[in-house]
């Protein structure tokens, strides 16, 4: 089991609630990735969000920088909003990062995005939400699966490509391309049919209720003739690890509160309810907030339902102090991971 982290960038806040510079958030994220590599975390996912409080808008650029500054950790987008981007450019950026990294550490996760801010930003029609995603994913796969430097592809949402070079090629020939989903059944079926690994973003509710989706994904993949070992599952969730559960709960809550206030302003929600937080932070809730023992046990519990090979946490939300992010990353790598391996070996 791989253990990791992901972030959309987390702009720090002044005591009056106003936001500090977004560039500082990117610098913090870059430092956190280097730290994660140093302490032995397996994976770090970046972006893509386009808000002042979550400014990690350009996963390719940050991952290329991180590729040069790290030596072991796998790096990927979490996720790239391919519907409103150009798959050629995404592929080129990640293949460039792959070359910089020395090869084999760079992944793309293709998503639709849980918010729709990229559609007006890049001038796309929300009415084509499904069509854009399907077609851009098709193009991204066509580029990745090309036998050489040249690609030929045609569709309806973007000009055709007739035997044109898309370079650099990844050092290993291809990049892992994951499909991100928030739990829509047809997304799981499609990922299985395509034979792509699938990444579940589970940010609310009870994670083990995703188990039928994992089964659907594997069955759809098997039906389409994809070997079982190519059908991989990862789980992205919210959480924070601290030496004790009480510390973890106290550290994660202010940022959770801030984020929910901000989203509530946009979406018409009322003030966040501490009881909702407490409920989600307890098994079987969605937040992996606790001591290394508790978080490890909950990851292993979910593994019994999902059989996932990677579990990674978003920790820095709502202006989390950087030292709390760094300590959580340290504990994930040095305390949670060995416990998870031990518990899984016992099964």
């Amino acid at each position: 089991m791989e253990i990791g982290a992901y972030s959309f960038g987390d702009t720090q806040r002044n005591t009056n609630g106003s936001l500090q510079p977004t560039g500082e958030a990117i610098r913090n994220l870059f430092e956190a990735i280097k730290h994660a590599d140093a302490v032995g975390l397996d994976y770090f996912g970046v972006g893509e969000h386009h808000t002042t409080s979550m400014p990690a808008s350009s996963p390719g650029a940050l991952i290329a920088a991180a590729a040069a500054a790290t030596s072991r950790i796998k790096l990927g987008s979490a996720a790239s909003i391919i519907s409103t981007d150009d798959p050629v450019r995404i592929f080129q950026q990640f293949a460039t990062a792959d070359a910089v990294s020395g090869g084999g550490r760079i992944e793309i996760t293709a998503g639709r995005g849980s918010s729709v801010e990229t559609f007006p930003l890049f001038g796309y029609d929300l009415g084509e939400y499904d069509e854009l995603y399907a077609e851009k994913l098709d193009l991204l796969m066509a580029i990745n699966n090309a036998g050489g430097n040249h690609v030929t592809w045609s569709g309806t949402k973007r000009p055709a490509i007739e035997d044109l070079a898309v370079v650099p090629r990844p050092l290993g020939g291809h990049l892992p391309i994951w499909v991100a989903t928030g739990g829509n059944a047809s997304s799981s079926a499609r990922a299985g049919q395509l034979g792509l690994p699938v990444s579940y973003g589970i940010i609310g509710g009870e994670p083990h209720r995703f188990a039928p989706l994992a089964e659907l994904y594997r069955r759809a993949g098997a039906q389409a003739g994809h070997p079982a070992d190519s059908l991989k599952i990862s789980v992205a969730a919210l959480g924070l690890v601290a030496p004790t559960k009480q510390e973890a709960l106290e550290r994660f809550y202010p940022g959770w509160y801030n984020l929910n206030v901000e989203m509530g302003r946009l979406r018409g929600w009322p003030a966040p309810d501490k009881r909702a937080y407490d409920a989600q932070a307890e098994a079987p809730g969605a937040y992996y907030v606790g001591s290394p023992d508790e978080v490890a046990e909950r990851i292993v519990h979910l593994h019994g339902y999902m059989g996932h090979m990677r579990h990674f946490l978003q920790t820095d939300i709502g202006g989390l102090p950087q030292e709390h992010l760094l300590e959580s990353i340290t504990l994930l790598a040095t305390e949670v991971k060995p416990r998870v391996q031990r518990l899984l070996a016992r099964k």
């Binding site: 729709v116 939400y129 079926a189 509710g205 989706l213 659907l216 946009l266 979406r267 018409g268 009322p270």
Partner: protein
């Protein structure tokens, strides 16, 4: 049909669910658990959905949209911007539960719903000529439906609001809601559905029947 009665499971009617997303599949599982025959359809042919239905909503049957429409009660749970893909002719005369929402902050603007004073279900109802549209199930999260469902008479049982212009249709939906595990509160006509659209306290909260009745009253008083 016997929706709402505490009879044998086999005596329950047939529920058609249009949409196999997170809302549609959660409602399908609840309806199966309550003993209904459940047919699920999407815009795709039934065969394309068979595996999804078998695994995600075991006990339900994947059908084409026309067959799902021919049910005692039809739930519409598709992305709202696709509502004009519904076959109004096939749904004419049916009791249709509109579980959809116009939620521009998450789904973007849709002109039909942006440039009107009507509730979103009134817009849907105007398109579904001849259907008996009832608004409900829109103000509970898909991930809350199964954990929050509870036996009739359970303390603090969660309640769902029901709005519609057809009293008999509303009564049928109220019975359906009860069998799925929730109390229901009559909000009034379809226009009153505004009281539990996105952005309202009811949409954002979790209420038992008494609390929901009070919240609806408060909403009407301030409308």
């Amino acid at each position: 049909m016997d929706i709402g009665e505490q009879g044998e499971a086999a005596s329950r009617g047939t529920i058609g669910i249009l949409g196999a997303g997170r809302v549609g599949t959660a409602m399908a599982r609840l309806a199966i658990a309550a003993g209904y025959r459940v047919k699920v359809a999407t815009s795709k042919p039934a065969a394309d959905n068979e595996l999804i239905i078998e695994i995600v909503t075991p006990g339900a049957v994947a059908v084409d949209a026309g067959e799902a429409a021919a049910s005692d009660l039809v739930v519409v749970a598709i992305p709202l911007h696709k509502y004009r893909s519904l076959d109004a002719g096939a749904l004419a005369g049916r009791v249709v539960v509109d579980a959809m929402n116009y939620w521009a902050a998450t789904d973007g603007d849709i002109a039909d719903f942006e440039k009107t004073h009507l509730s979103s279900s009134e817009v849907v109802s105007a398109y579904l000529v001849g259907s008996r549209v009832v608004k409900s199930f829109n103000h509970i999260g898909y991930h809350e439906m199964e954990p929050d469902a509870a036996e009739q008479g359970s303390p603090n049982r969660r309640a769902l609001a029901v709005a519609g212009d057809d009293e008999a249709a509303k009564a049928m939906v109220a019975g359906f809601i009860d069998t799925l595990g929730f109390d229901s509160v009559d909000a009034g006509d379809l226009a009153a559905g505004k009281a539990f659209e996105p952005g309202t306290d009811i949409f954002n909260g979790r209420f038992n029947a008494a609390e929901l009745a009070q919240a609806l009253q408060h909403s009407l008083a301030t409308a």
